[in-house]
Amino acid sequence: MPEPTKPQTAPVKMRAKNVNFYYGSFQALYDINLDFATNKVTAMIGPSGCGKSTFLRNLNRINETLRDTRLEGEITLDDENILDQDVTAVRRRIGMVFQRPNPFPKSIFENIIYGPKINGMLKGKNAAEIVETSLRRAALWEETKDKLNESAYALSGGQQQRLCIARALAVNPEVLLLDEPCSALDPIATSKIEDLLITLKHQCTIVIVTHNMQQAARVADTTGFFLLGKLIEHDKTEVIFKNPSRKETEDYITGRFG
């Protein structure tokens, strides 16, 4: 069994303990133990189908909405098991950004204010202020301040993805999960989002799944390598890329497969 991860660079924000996950009778994750350090970016890499996205989607329990799935083990946020808590409260604290931008068919303003509204966070607050702050945090304010009432679909793909980040930030999550957030974007939009992640980590703990190893190297403090539903290795990013301790990791990093 792989020992819980070593790179203790900061206090643990989230922790996965012996996580097994099944789609019907197919086991997608095997005994995952992984710590996520506070205010750091943790990247999860690995070939397609290795379980990294599945694992990420368990961290906010969004996989529960799929039929016929089963999770074993424990996932803690600030040392409390999120599997025992009210799921909507958990998801309020752990935000998520998806592979493809998924703005709601509403205006930019309504997209941002959606989370605060349904979570009852608007009492005594100025909605316009929340929208501005959130868009600024996602580095989208300058581009959208004059068209807040236009449809979110009027934005480019990269802008839509930053809108989705802003929408997630509007409820002040403690953790932000990103599932290959740049896979549908061009290089310029990608680099904007990467810059954003590096600034955002001072405000929340970030977990990112990526297909792109250079991206992990650029943004992540620590990186975990997944293969066939198992976490092979988790360490400081430069260790993973320069001096991995496992043969499988080295093979993947050097492009021998995947």
Partner: protein, 286 residues
Amino acid sequence: MAIKMTPRNRRRLIVNNIMLSATAICAVITVSSLFLILMYLLKNGGQSVDLNFFTQLPKSPGELGGGMANAIVGSATVVALASVIGLPIGFLAGVYLAEFSPKGFGFLVRYTADLLNGVPSIVIGIFAWGLIVHNMHHFSALAGGFALSLMLIPITARGTEQFLLEVPRTMREGALALGAPMWVTIATVIVPAARKGIMTSMILGVARISGETAPLLFTALGNQYWATSLNEPTASLPVMIFTHATAPYEDWHRQAWAAGLVLLGLVFVANILARTIVSRGASLPK
């Protein structure tokens, strides 16, 4: 350049031309039936559709003029009753089918809805007669509305389900990931995203039932005068057409044609309305 025509090639060419013509002819028949109906109605009923038709009660045979104001209002009443009962039930059933139904039970509901949709409308009329008219001892708009709502429910349920399922999963997840409970996600994101489709299927469903005759024949029955309450026999356009067209009076036949024209016009308007709603910008991204 010359293409060498082998017998095989020639046969293919002939078959091709025959099939092409056959499909074109059938396409023309499809389109022209509608125009033939419309022209026929215009020719036979056009002169009788005047202001009186919309403001006056039917006249006795032999008297000229008169209208079908009571039938127009009666149809509207019965269809409104059916909508009040059928649209919410159908809509909520559709939401259940699309979002909550477990596999086995969902299949059962879906299958039953499709069967209900296929039940001959005269059978639905008999059922409503047995359940309501027979027990209340009189015909009424309520019984008619009930019968029509039975036809509206499966149409609305399946339409709602279909358009809800077209909303991408990622949009649901986007709302759920912000901490929205399932019912909030459905009410604030999924249904609004599918709104146009759902409204369209509702309008088409209502248009469809407004032309139904059989379920009204022995429920709302018919009435030559104004109905003063929902508990009385009530006139409706389709039944009016039936009674007027089967009566042996020339002037009643003309009124029947006119009623057909008006009914068709109303259904057209509903269709066009539905299509306008859909075409006003796509509600979802590709």
